[in-house]
């Protein structure tokens, strides 16, 4: 009994650094030698995929980067996956950022998917990176009213010289707005979805999903749930990447935490029963 009590007490007062170390091993080991656990497709991901799949080629899609560098491990794999899908569908991609870190990732996505950004022969015809627009939600509202409100793109090219920008007069010209964010989608629903009737899709961090779900499927036609959403999309577009490679590590870490939660609860109940 005494030995049992000591064990329980030890568990209750375990150094958090031990948990960090175990977590690090659980994440690192599957990355080095992947197991290849199956990944199912969630309704949010398939909703977004099916919608893009149904768009006729040549339609305009807005990729709105409202993401900071801190959420890049979750959001960037999503961006790479859906940009590849947009390219395969021959859709016209307009990239714009409402966070200062956004243009950097927009440029990276173009280089990863098209092989080049501003130097690509199709730049300005099939895709464009407009860069950062300061002003938060006020900027979103202005941009939705007039997508040509800015003078130059991210690389300093005049908007008037970019062929892709000429037919755009308001947010109504976009068939889809994909919001890449770690903060909120409400502002895009407010400024793009509701006033112009443009469908919204979310490439969001896992933290944000519970805030996106009230809009799904009426206003947000689909959403990618963090790294898992990115992995699902990589599967759908047959472009396995870093998200899919990270899924084993994600499952191993979840399993470890579930074990810790069970141990913690058992310990709590044992102590409670002893006290009573």
């Amino acid at each position: 009994m005494t030995a049992k009590k000591g064990w329980m007490q030890k568990l209750a007062t375990i150094d958090p650094r031990v948990i960090f170390l175990l977590l690090f091993i659980c994440v690192g080991a599957p990355l080095l030698s992947p197991v290849g656990l199956p990944v199912g497709i969630s309704p949010g991901t398939s909703g977004m995929y099916k919608f893009i799949e149904g768009l006729p080629s040549g339609n305009f899609v807005l990729s709105a980067f409202d993401m900071s560098a801190a959420v890049a491990p979750e959001c960037y794999p999503q961006v790479a996956a859906f940009t590849a899908h947009l390219k395969n569908k021959n859709l016209k991609i307009v990239e714009v950022a409402f966070d200062s870190a956004g243009p950097m990732f927009a440029d990276q996505a173009l280089r990863d998917v098209f092989g080049a950004s501003k130097d690509h022969p199709l730049y300005g015809k099939n895709f464009v990176n407009l860069g950062y627009i300061a002003g938060g939600e006020a900027a979103m509202r202005s941009y939705a009213a007039n997508p040509k409100m800015i003078q130059k793109d991210f690389y300093g090219k005049d908007i008037k010289d970019l062929e892709i920008m000429q037919p755009l007069s308001s947010a109504k010209d976009f068939r889809l707005v994909i919001v890449i964010t770690g903060s909120q989608v409400d502002n895009f629903v407010r400024q793009f979805g509701d006033p112009y009737g443009v469908p919204i899709a979310g490439a969001v961090t896992a933290v944000l999903v519970t805030r996106v779900m009230p809009y799904y499927p009426a206003k947000v036609i689909g959403y990618l749930n963090g790294l898992r959403g990115a992995a699902e999309y990589e599967l759908l577009v047959k472009r396995p990447g870093i998200a899919l490679a990270g899924m084993d590590a994600q499952s191993a870490a979840h399993l470890l935490v579930i074990i810790f939660i069970i141990i913690g609860n058992v310990g709590y109940m044992v102590r409670k029963s002893r006290r009573s």
Binding site: V27, A101, R190, G193, N225
Partner: protein, 218 residues
């Protein structure tokens, strides 16, 4: 270096933190300045004098640093807050209030679709129960108490789901960072970072030891 914080607070972590903050702030400031230069300053010097108004108004923000003329700073601030609030509140009333309420008015029983019926019952009674939980003007008794309890469980499930999602997000961040460390030239920096962390922690320990012995001598 940043992850060394998990072991303990140390100088290497603080160096990493300051570099991150400095680089991020500098990058953001440059992009903001470029945006103003491209979209306000350039049209102004080309003859579109209307741009002088917002540019001059924005300069008034610098009166924040003047004790005597601080009130001038309040003028552009009031405009920013007023416009920002107007843009959000007017649209938000529809997006997050009226349309969410109408989306909650669902039929409780749908013929030949028990799954949807159950879903609708949970949504309708979950919303009502959660709202009653925050109604404090009367004591929760009788059938109201049942609704409150139901609302409480719905709220707890929501918090649990949010926590689970948050945990998943944090793990994704670690996965992303570890994956980036596999790539060239990041992995070659690992030994240097490990040495820096080791030095920083030893340095901190040495200083703590010295401070302790100095206190003991006193």
């Amino acid at each position: 270096m940043a992850y060394s914080f998990l072991y303990k607070e140390n100088r290497a972590y603080r160096i990493a933190e300051h570099i991150y903050l400095g680089a991020g702030t500098g990058y953001g400031a440059i992009l903001s300045a470029k945006y103003v230069y491209d979209n306000a300053w350039t049209p102004l010097v080309k003859g579109n004098t209307l741009w002088a108004i917002p540019l001059l108004a924005s300069l008034l923000l610098y009166f924040y640093f003047s004790k005597k003329h601080f009130w001038i700073y309040r003028i552009p601030t009031a405009a920013i807050i007023g416009i920002g609030t107007g843009i959000v509140v007017a649209a938000d009333f529809r997006t997050r209030l009226t349309e969410q309420i109408s989306a909650t008015l669902l039929p409780l029983f749908i013929a030949n679709d028990p799954y949807k019926s159950l879903n609708n019952i949970i949504i309708v009674f979950g919303v009502i129960g959660s709202l009653i939980f925050f109604y404090f003007s009367r004591e929760h008794r009788g059938p109201v108490k049942g609704m409150v309890n139901f609302g409480k469980y719905i709220l707890m499930i929501t918090f649990g789901a949010a926590f689970g999602q948050t945990f998943m997000a944090r793990i994704s961040l670690i996965i992303g960072r570890i994956q980036s460390l596999y790539l060239w030239p990041a992995w070659i920096l690992l030994p240097s970072a490990a040495v820096l962390v080791g030095v920083a922690i030893s340095w901190d320990r040495l200083r703590q030891k010295k401070a302790k012995s100095a206190t003991e001598k006193k």
